[in-house]
Amino acid sequence: MIARLVLPLLLAVVAIDASAADRREILDRIAGDFIVPRYQALADATGEQKKVWDSFCAKPSAAGVDDLQAAFHKVADAWSSIEIVRYGPISKDFRHERLAHWPERRNAVSRALESVLRWNEEAILTPKRFAGSSVAGQGVTAMERLLTDVYKREALAVGGEWSKYCALGRAIAGSQADVSAAVLNEWIGKNGLRESLATADENTLREAVTRIATDLLAAYEFVDDLKLGAIMGPELGKSRAAMAEGRRSGRPTRIIVLNLEAMRALTRISLDTEDDQVIDALDNAIRMARDLPPQFATLADDPKRRWRLVLLRDMIWSARNLSQTTIPPALDITLGFNSLDGD
């Protein structure tokens, strides 16, 4: 059991008695300053990635592969900056699972890609058909796998097989662009969620705030326990570096940093203040995470450096505890407890 350096809970918790107007204002802030810009960035990045794949496949080249990699990293950055949100249109049609598939269990991503590669190219490039394939083969992790494992194996072997990999890349890029555009549109388009929240009744508003706050608190568990804890292992010699999210593309630490930055931004916007202990705790955690090497798991089995990961987890743990105490009263909500604290 990792020793926890829980900050003393010397909090003057500010509780409010929120009216429907207050909740509407909070949601408008969260949507306008956090959710919509980040889905816009995701839609832009996935749209660009789709174009890059289309032009690469029209004329494959070594330089073009660099463009594919760059486009992938932009999409992955955009996704890591909004993935903590599960409320809203992202929850429809298994979209969240289609954009990300981590933790990967039973080698699901590779199996999904191999399964689709058995199709003919026309089938792969039929969006409706591809959307019905395993969700594990459609997301950021799948694209990473295609650009690393498969690509390395077939490096620029421009020929019959490569054109099939190209079709798969275009299909994944197309699916990500379609999903991202649909999510954005269902937030900001006519009759979109943002518009309906503007006129929603009090219960709908309360539920929306509650769901977003639950997403925020669930993100702590996901980042702390799974993305960091399960990878570094319970003790020296028990790390699982190969399982780290983004390991193949050198992104494990970057993902943690982007997730934490997203949590900080959502916290700040929700509380409408920079002056809060949760923000301070998250700032400490972000600083500490930024100082880690790109593959943070290299520290996990090093007796002289493992403490840096332990300390990072302690910082996140502190922010998590403070959030649980601060956020529900500040937003005048009662948080759900089944997923966070079941039995």
Binding site: Y87, E97, P103, T214, A230, T334, G342
Partner: protein, 361 residues
């Protein structure tokens, strides 16, 4: 000890005398005032009562032939309340004896006389089944072994006989809250207790291939087959099947499902139920925000539905339909094979935080 005096029993929402209107769904809930309570609502989503509890409740059981429902504290709580379904009033608070705590579930076997409650012997860590005489103010008459550690849900087996107990295999102690004290030595399994003799009629474990699984919740079909749901405490990058069946003679097999549906359960099942016809098995996963369904007879996987923070699960009025409750998305119904989830009921139902289990009375 929790202060049990004035905190208990104020019925916050009036609604007396409605038990005869049809079945009620009874469940622990946290209101928008943050207070823990037990609430009852009708099949069409009308709240009949909401009564304050001394702390967070877990499951409830109906005493056969009466209007009494017993609501248990969540583990490791030491209280259970007897609630009158007709009025919503608390009739009595039952306390676990010194050295024991409740695990949150109870059952009656054949009639409404003896309440069986899963409990922990804190000194030894062994599970016990506390026996409470409902005809004598729920006086504790004694206890029987649960034949395992960490007993959780239990249910009588129609036709097959006996009381089947999910021994989760996880040892805890109130001094350390809910911390798992035996992570390296879990021995989960199902035991069938003969409530007359106290003997173990059969015991089935999950075998060495399923290390890390904890059986927590179950339901029993009319033919005596037990369907159970597990939580996985092993390597988070593993993904074992989580839902299984035990035949009346004790053979265990798991219900298959596609990998991506299994991944959506996120290694956690919180409730198990059968529909009204007894032909559809359903489970919920609050950690995965998913409910999943199988055909009972063939074991064929039927599909899944997303619902955030879903855990409470009970048969709906129609066959092949279920009532689902959530910590942050109210109450819904879903009908097989339709792909949708329909919201149920009045605004109160989506304002409150619904806890792990819902009982169809």
């Amino acid at each position: 000890m929790i202060g049990l005096g004035s905190a208990v029993g104020a019925t916050l929402t009036a609604g007396a005398g409605h038990a005869a209107d049809g079945p009620l769904y009874v469940t622990a809930v946290k209101g928008d005032d943050g207070a823990h309570a037990v609430a009852a609502f009708t099949a069409d989503g009308v709240v009949r009562f909401k009564t304050r509890l001394p702390g967070r409740g877990h499951d409830a059981v109906r005493r056969p032939g009466t209007n009494e429902v017993i609501v248990f504290a969540r583990r490791p709580g030491d209280w259970a309340t007897v609630v009158d379904l007709a009025t919503g009033q608390v009739r009595q608070v039952i306390l676990a004896p010194k050295g024991r705590h409740f695990y949150g579930h109870g059952a009656f076997v054949t009639d409404g006389q003896l309440l069986h409650a899963t409990e922990n012997n804190m000194a030894t860590g062994q599970g016990v089944i506390g026996l409470y005489d409902a005809t004598d103010h729920y006086r504790r008459k004694g206890e029987l072994p649960s034949f395992g550690i960490g007993p959780h849900e239990l249910a009588p087996r129609p036709r097959a006989g006996g009381l089947v107990i999910a021994n989760g295999g996880i040892r805890t102690h109130p001094d350390s809250g809910r911390e798992m004290l035996n992570a390296d030595a879990m021995e989960p399994g199902l035991a069938v207790l003969d409530p007359e003799t106290g003997d173990c009629r059969l015991k089935a474990d999950l075998g060495p291939d399923n290390r890390g699984l904890s059986i927590r919740h179950l339901t029993v079909a009319r033919d005596g087959t037990t369907f159970f749901g597990c939580q996985f405490h092993g390597d988070p990058f593993d993904m074992p099947l989580l839902v299984g069946a035990m035949t009346p003679d004790g053979r265990i097999h798991f219900l298959d499902m596609p990998d991506e549906a299994l991944a959506a359960l996120n290694n956690y099942v919180g409730s198990v139920a059968l529909d009204r016809s007894g032909e559809v098995v359903a489970v919920t996963s609050p950690r995965g925000g998913t409910a999943a369904f199988w055909d009972r007879a063939s074991g064929r996987y039927l599909g899944r539905r997303p619902m955030p923070d879903v855990c409470g699960l009970a048969a709906a009025a129609a066959p092949e339909a279920f009532v689902l409750t959530s910590g942050n998305a109210g109450i819904a119904t879903t009908q097989i094979p339709f792909e949708s989830i329909e919201r149920l009921g009045a605004p109160d139902l989506s304002r409150w935080v619904w806890d792990n289990h819902v009982l169809l009375t």
